[in-house]
């Protein structure tokens, strides 16, 4: 069994293999396939709770991936707002930089820009520009809900955010209202 802890090198080497067999465009087609087929949890979360679905999805994923990050959510009751992420050390790119016995895919970080924005755009969430420092495995970005989503989505997101506010201290989350 290839452990899930060994997935990142298998992913990077798959990109290298596909580019060697075909070209970079085929690697992008593979990322588009992953975007359509792998992100069901993200899509379900934003479909139900709008922008707050992003918080829930990345909170779960980044903790399981033991990332070194700061993530902020700023949400209005009507569902508008924005979320920022400052990835101080990406566990995926960091893993690849630490492996010296094979060469990481030269455009590894490109996959994030292909995977996530199309899914989020479907639900009215705009992806902000991304700051990237590949050699330090660092990046930062933002997601914005500029227009209010349907009232039931805004309500579901707001209720979930209020619950997060209640549990914030226990989870080590800083939370406040103004």
């Amino acid at each position: 069994m290839i452990s899930c802890t060994e997935f990142i090198p298998s992913y990077s080497l798959l990109f290298s293999w596909i580019e060697e067999k075909v070209d970079y465009d085929e690697v992008v087609r593979y990322w588009e396939y992953i975007s359509r087929n792998y992100l069901e949890k993200l899509e379900a979360a934003v479909k139900e709770k709008g922008l707050f679905g992003c918080w829930e999805y990345w909170k779960h994923s980044l903790n399981e991936e033991a990332a070194d990050f700061v993530m902020e959510m700023h949400l209005n009751e009507d569902g508008t707002g924005y979320m920022t992420s400052d990835m101080r050390y990406c566990p995926s790119m960091g893993f690849l930089l630490e492996c010296e016995h094979f060469t990481p895919y030269h455009a590894y970080c490109d996959h994030c820009s292909v995977l996530y924005p199309p899914i989020l755009k479907k639900y009215g969430i705009r992806s902000g520009s991304r700051k990237l420092d590949v050699q330090r495995a660092a990046c930062g970005g933002s997601r914005h809900m500029d227009e209010p989503p349907a009232p039931e989505i805004a309500a579901a997101g707001w209720q979930a955010a209020l619950k997060e506010l209640e549990n914030a201290e226990a989870e080590g989350i800083t939370a406040w209202m103004d």
Partner: protein
């Protein structure tokens, strides 16, 4: 406006993101659909030759204890229902998987298992054993549970 801020260091969590098992499953599906069975095998060999080159070097230096330690570490972390056995013969290692944690997680997500998913074990093991004194055997595969029997034995040894 409601504000939330989460600040985490890598050391705050254990690295175990099981959804990556499904990401690998989808990779095998994509390769199968677009490059055929030979494409799947070729990629898995390419991955194993590159990523497991250090494990292979350890295997050559210390023998099957290298693979035993590697898999004990992985299954201790991932769970499943697995027995790793050594006999008095230092050139025999058997991994009996009754429930594979990867297949268990993929099934839990409701995603179909890609055709030839078991090659992520069997082809990888065969590739690790290339140009070594050992060979890998793979049998009793059950795609529902991921059960299998994986053996490593001396090439000249009888089954």
């Amino acid at each position: 406006m409601l504000h939330l801020r989460m600040d985490r260091r890598a050391s705050d969590n254990v690295y175990l993101h099981k959804d990556f098992h499904n990401a690998l499953n989808l990779a095998i599906q994509y390769l199968s659909d677009n490059f055929g069975e030979e494409g799947v095998k070729d990629y898995l060999r390419f991955f194993a030759r590159n990523y497991y080159s250090i494990l292979k070097a350890d295997l050559m230096q210390r023998g099957l204890i290298a693979l035993e330690e590697h898999y004990r570490k992985i299954y201790d972390l991932e769970g499943g229902d697995v027995t790793i056995e050594r006999t008095e013969d230092p050139d025999e290692l058997t991994i009996t998987v009754r429930v594979c944690p990867a297949v268990e997680h993929i099934r839990k997500l409701g995603t179909p298992l890609a055709p030839n998913y078991e090659w992520t074990t069997s082809v990888v093991h065969e590739t690790i054993c290339e140009d070594t004194p050992w060979r890998a055997e793979f049998s009793n595969w059950d795609p529902q549970t991921g059960a299998s029997i994986q053996r490593f034995v001396r090439k000249e040894a009888k089954k």
